[in-house]
């Protein structure tokens, strides 16, 4: 994911994918998401709670210690 192209993307043109088997539930993505898109579920795995709020800043992807988050451009 190149940050350059990210700015050009429309809001609805990306998709956040979370690999549950890699996620260790540290909560870093949840805490630092500027739009509060993410949350931890009852199994302490990250989930996308409010996908519409996501503005694809990509910080969750970059700060994930488990490399469990991937934002793909549709």
């Amino acid at each position: 994911m190149k940050s350059k192209s990210k700015k050009d993307q429309g809001k609805d043109r990306s998709h956040i994918e979370i690999r549950r088997d890699w996620c260790k539930g540290c909560g870093i993505c949840v805490a630092f998401c500027p739009k509060k898109v993410l949350a931890l579920d009852e199994n302490e795995k990250a989930i996308i709670e409010r996908p519409d709020e996501c503005d694809q800043c990509g910080l969750c992807e970059l700060r994930c210690p488990d490399i469990a988050i991937e934002i793909t451009t549709l």
Partner: protein, 267 residues
């Protein structure tokens, strides 16, 4: 290539604890390499022993997992054998500044084209929370039950005075600038050192009541400032981050090529 194309997926999830800063370092190191468009066959990752050293096993490069503290010595041999390859050495507190301290200053002094990424989490994680040469004075560790009376090394100062021609500091919180710094460090011709302040919530955080990974990253956010900022003047306790040294200096392998020319001419 996608980030996951650089990972040996069969070993994931990795061994690091939840919230460990080392995962963030690995994450952004891959991204820097991806942006640079380097070929996987052109990268050798050499690591020592410790939590940080485990990075090499997860990445799909030529990987050499060596002895505690000796990664830079092994890396020196690899680099001189194949000067065209990119050599990246992830290190922790012990590898870089304790058992491997001598190799660190000498690799810096030679200015050999190797990138050392030092994950400073102020503690020995793999063996369970003993103090390191990077533990802050007064902090607790399993081997400092009454508080640490050792003074910590300043990696940036150490690298700078030892002769590294690229020296930078960043934190696990500052992911985007970390990627840029890694890019510059890897492409720099000479010995490059990137100190990344990294959280160990399991030992350093818990022993010292510093909170969880998020709180420790908040600390990096609040207590660091870009190099040369006005904030530092107001609050000298702030830790500076950014690129401290970036200079063109004679690189070791290039210098040795000249030696070969001289030696062959003299024959």
């Amino acid at each position: 290539m996608a980030v996951r194309d650089y990972i040996r997926e069969r070993f994931m999830p990795h061994i690091w604890c939840a919230g460990c800063g080392h995962g963030i370092v690995m994450n952004n190191l891959i991204r820097a390499i991806e942006v640079l468009g380097l070929k996987k066959n052109d990268i050798v990752m050499v690591s020592g022993i410790g939590c940080s050293a485990r990075i090499s096993g997860y990445l799909d490069f030529h990987t050499l997992h060596t002895l505690h503290g000796r990664a830079l010595a092994f890396a020196t041999g690899v680099k001189l054998g194949r000067p065209d390859l990119h050599i990246i050495v992830p290190m922790g507190d012990g590898d870089a500044t304790a058992i491997g301290g001598n190799h660190f200053i000498h690799a810096a002094r030679r200015n050999i084209d190797i990138t050392a990424v030092i994950m400073n989490n102020h503690i020995y994680g793999m063996t369970g929370g003993q103090y390191s040469p990077l533990s802050v004075y007064g902090r607790m560790a399993t081997t400092a039950p009454f508080g640490n009376i050792d003074q910590a090394f300043d990696i940036v100062g150490l690298a700078q005075s030892a002769g590294a021609s690229f020296v930078a500091r960043t934190t696990s919180y500052h992911a985007t600038s970390m990627i840029k710094i890694f890019q510059k460090a890897i492409t720099h011709k000479g010995f490059s050192v990137v100190e990344v302040l990294s959280q160990c919530p399991t030992y350093y955080g818990r022993k010292n009541r510093l909170g969880d990974a998020v709180e420790m990253m908040e600390f990096f956010k609040k207590n660091t400032t870009p190099l040369g900022s006005a904030a530092k003047e107001k609050n000298p306790d702030l830790i500076e981050r950014g690129i401290f040294v970036q200079e063109d200096r004679p690189e070791y392998c290039a210098e040795y090529k000249k030696i070969i020319k001289k030696a062959m001419g003299e024959q």
